[in-house]
Symmetry: C2
Subunit: 653 residues, 2 copies
């Protein structure tokens, strides 16, 4: 039977489950990737699990988000992460090397392998025909420990590309077109699988642009075939031996199908403040401009910078525009120097920044309030730039460069110059000297974690009790996000690695007294009640761990967002829903919830019989036996430690 490439990749890594859309599957992970903001907690989790050597190869820790260093917290975290890498057998890509996604593709990407990373744009490696998925930190920690990655089997959307890109139109316009058609939830629980003759128009880093921003459509992954373009990419990095051909079978059937004739595309732009508010650039041409921002994993390729250099070369950026150049990687920076493009940019008046994520996630280069910023980044959610009242547009490097020259938003086709033709140098430098490789196991054993006050060990969690008797301490409405539970931002983000310190900020906007009430109860515990879609938003695991630390034992909601629902049992919190959603209205803060024989009820079926101030209340759970075992143990860390203790030689995969 003809198979899609996605099915082949999944089948090659399938450890358990049925490949039926929606059904839980367990996948073997070959590689893992950590970024720095979330990597600290992952390292602390691995330490708490008692792991002394990771199982995925390679596992790589990237320092790419925390580069500003306004005080010692970032630098201290880098030293902690480097020591954890040395101890656990993880590659360390230090500050200055660049953004995880392109660096990983350059140095470690291998067609056909699987990768999970604690960053939503980990999907970018699908450009190299990898099965690459973003997940919460605890799931990556489990993968590093040798456990499978669990997820619902996705649907596969086949995206057939035809024709060739017109002048002044590039990869970013292709993904913007898909966002225009399908919106930010258009590929939820799906894999976007690209195929067709138009692929030849996209080199490997162009494909990265599409695979990266599949995340903006909610895709679980994006997958490209491994073809001669892929081979050329690896060859120019001195890694042709890692190449192998991969493609869907002719005639395979996709769950859904889409078609784009590249030759019909024009320059597109996403208006503030959502990646799917896409219109032709010509629709907003002439609007004033404060900033043109080139960089991020949304347009990380050499050509994405070189084309900007070719456009501004010998000219002067408009004096009212800040043209910010954020090379994605050390390699790209090096190539831009070598080919004369960096000189052209600097002489035209651009500002040059260090390689890394930078302003894409609000780490510097925040625009002036209310002023238009054109960015080649993947996201323009409100405030993400660091400026609360921002006005961020997403577009191609061509559009950003043309606009920087003109001083107003400009369709690059109206520049009146020949469209630059940029090719990658035949040889792209990539040096292992830029990385710190894993230490041999015998040396690694002697490395101590360089912990600081900001990286205290994780708390030991207690197993699930036989009987739960707790008050409802907080009753929330619909759509509580993980941002509501555990805030991010410049104030709290640097202390995420410290669950005790960040606990002070739990629910601070929604209910400033929650922390005090929870602390008053202490280990006696409490319950939280939510409405629909409780825990929506990011995958941050501390939104489960930190409330647990404050005594949270049970969450009851009308519905719970998928990733948060997965995170809760990983940290020993029981997630339940109402059998009758109308029961939400019966609950008030301060009432006492009692669940007798919790373990027995969980094992017996989906129904959980409880009482609320003595009156019966029927609740439901959807946990798998694996999740029940994790919950019963008091979370993933205890569960893994127990398995390790009972079977020390077990090779989990």
């Amino acid at each position: 039977m003809s198979e899609t490439l996605s099915h082949k990749l999944i089948a090659a890594h399938l450890l358990d489950g049925e490949m039926t859309p929606g059904s839980e599957i367990a996948l073997r992970m070959d590689q893992t990737l950590l970024q720095d903001i979330l990597g600290t907690l992952v390292m602390l989790e691995l330490d708490a699990m008692g792991i002394d050597r990771v199982r995925t190869d390679p596992s790589v820790q990237y320092i790419d988000h925390t580069l500003l260093q306004p005080d010692n917290i970032n630098a201290d975290a880098h030293l902690f992460l480097k020591s954890a890498c040395e101890r656990l057998g993880v590659w360390y890509s230090g500050p200055g090397n660049g953004i995880s996604h392109p660096v990983h593709m350059e140095r470690f990407g291998v067609p056909g392998q699987s990768l999970v990373g604690c960053d939503s744009h980990t999907t970018a490696a699908g450009a190299l025909s990898m099965l690459a998925i973003g997940a919460g930190g605890i799931e990556v920690a489990m993968a590093m420990a040798g456990e499978p990655l669990y997820l619902p089997m996705p649907e596969v959307i086949g995206v057939r590309l035809e024709g060739d890109l017109p002048e002044w139109v590039s990869a970013k316009d292709v993904i913007l077109e898909l966002l225009r058609r399908h919106g930010v939830a258009g590929a939820k629980n799906c894999i976007l699988e690209y195929h067709g003759p138009g692929l030849a128009a996209l080199d490997a880093m162009d494909r990265h642009v599409l695979a990266n921003m599949g995340t903006e459509m909610g895709a679980t992954a994006s997958v490209f075939p491994s073809d001669e373009v892929t081979r050329e990419f690896l060859r120019s990095r001195g890694r042709e031996a890692d190449w192998r051909p991969l493609a869907a079978d002719p005639g395979c059937r996709y769950d859904r199908s889409e078609r784009i004739d590249l030759s019909t595309l024009e320059p597109l732009i996403a208006l503030p403040s959502s990646p799917d508010k896409v219109v032709p650039v010509s629709r907003v041409a002439g609007e004033p401009l404060y900033q043109a921002y080139i960089g991020s994993s949304g347009n990380p390729g050499y050509r994405d910078f070189a084309v900007v250099a070719e456009i501004v070369k010998g000219r002067r950026v408009a004096s009212e525009v800040s043209l910010d150049i954020n090379p994605s990687t050390r390699q790209v920076l090096s190539a831009l120097i070598g080919e004369g493009h960096l000189a052209a940019l600097v002489e035209a008046g651009a500002r040059l920044h260090q390689p890394g994520c930078n302003g894409c996630i609000g780490m510097g280069q925040a625009p002036a309030a209310g002023r238009n910023s054109l960015r080649t980044v993947p996201r323009n959610f409100p405030g993400r730039s660091g400026t609360r009242e921002d006005s961020v547009f997403l577009c191609s490097p061509e559009t950003a460069a043309a606009s920087a020259l003109a001083g107003v938003i400009t369709d690059p086709r109206s520049l009146g110059m020949p469209c630059p033709r940029v090719r990658e140098p035949a040889r792209m430098a990539v040096s292992d000297d830029w990385f710190v490789p894993p230490l041999p196991a015998e040396r690694a054993r002697h490395v101590s974690l360089l912990a600081t006050d900001n990286t205290p060990p994780l708390p030991a969690l207690t197993p699930l009790p036989e009987r739960i008797e707790v008050p409802v301490l907080l009753k929330a409405g619909d759509n509580v996000s993980t941002d509501d539970i555990m805030p991010a931002g410049a104030r709290v983000l640097p202390i995420w690695s410290n669950v005790y310190a960040s606990a002070e900020h739990t629910f601070e906007a929604l209910d400033p007294d929650y922390v005090a009430r929870a602390r008053a109860r202490g280990d006696a515990g409490h319950a939280i009640v939510g409405g629909n879609n409780y825990g929506q938003g990011s995958s941050r695991e501390n939104a489960a761990l930190v409330p647990r630390l404050l005594g949270l034992q049970v969450v009851i909601a009308r519905s719970i967002a998928r990733i948060h629902w997965q995170n809760l049992p990983c940290f020993g919190v029981l997630p339940l829903t109402f059998r009758d959603p109308a029961d939400y209205g019966r609950i008030a803060r301060g009432q006492t919830l009692v669940i007798d024989d919790v373990r027995g009820q969980l094992a017996a079926g989906q129904r959980i019989q409880a009482t609320l101030d003595g009156a019966p209340l029927t609740l439901m759970h959807e946990l798998s036996p694996r999740q029940v075992a994790i919950l019963t143990a008091g979370g993933v860390i205890n569960w893994l430690r127990q398995r390790k203790a009972s079977s020390p030689e077990e090779n989990v995969t």
Copy 2:
């Protein structure tokens, strides 16, 4: 009679006063320079003065400190400053152009001219034979308005340089040797005038290193002759027409004399945490290293970066070291690219940052807590790096580069490689396109200030009353610094431009309730009593303006630091000392101070008769008639507005 070069430069700009050391002189200022942190207040002051066109030519506003942009405050300030430049006839050097001191020297420096800037390292332009002085913002505002700069006539220290520099020894080691000999107050109220045959060993940017860090010895200015080296510097920038020869007369007499035989020097290093804790590098060789930081106005020349590139070329920086490269200017960055040095740095593993002040003033790149950081910057005061518990050493680029390679503090002579010989390219690009020139007056009139909530207009101050009757609201001990009065740091610095918002932080560490007490009194006013050396430290004028805004009318202290003493009457505050210092002990918080006929007493002489809770108290003032007039008017802004109103056509200089 033979004259020193310093005397010639002063005589050429003298408007009033005697050239006797310590006597107040009034100097005509040709040029002015603003940096961004303090420039906002200066622009608001000029606006409040009713100035519509500045008189100095050029006046230049540099954006070099506020480059991180973690939120919109920096970017908003840039737009405000640019609009102020357009309105007032000021050149604008935007973010990305680099540090004021080297950029000013490259593009605007003219031998023989005078320059005042609101940055203590403005002295660096003495390298080009300018009379260049750092001062408080209000003094620069006055100079921009056409007023003279007043200062005590300095003593002149002749520093004779002989011999040639040994291999691996460079300009930084020369100024470190002077700091070793004389300490951080060794040139207070002096001009350091360099002469002798050893000058030939120092090119113009080497001289910048010495003139810049004369400030670390407390020097009012540093002066170099204008010779063939100067001519070559200007020629390579396409500005040979600005050159003219300037030198001391043979046989001139200096107030003090110093001699350095360059050939006897060795690599030196200042230990944490003072620039004068200087020892040979060999004394601390082998100490572990976290960071090597190359940049700042302390080593801003092309050669200071190129020599590092030559040292690390083809090698790999030790993996435990962060080698941070902060190009000083766009020009230097461009030249480093052109000559292949940037490629060598990036490939060796260095981190590249945007041109500007950056980590030198704690704006990023803060080191890990307690870890050693070797820096080519001018200062290593505790915490200046952004890390409270920092450990910062000052050294030459050669020493920093050698240490980065070795991973421990290293005397570069022990590297075992030939000493690199680096020469500037014959042509250093400098483009007027990188600046926004002043608008013609007729267009400038139509420009509005882009004010934000963070740049409100300055308050109107009331004239000095005829009678003062106020309570003592705060009694402080000795050595209260301007940091105690108006804190800096990442929390408060961004709101310095907003005197109303920053007022909340006045004296916050010393007396957290002072603001509330002062606000309760309101316009009824209050007095502050200090011990010795009240108002020491930086020249920040908001340490006078903001307490005045809170109602401060009189400061009485045992002694008042010179610059703060000058700032107080500029904002309408009467600075007094005790005739009998023992009277300090008689005063308590809450007592009432009464001064009758204040204006009459100030005009009549130095003695001021007051009462304290009814008992007589004799105080003293040292204000000149000019200062009394300013004080009486309620500060400089009122004084200048009144003069302008009474004589609208007056050309003040």
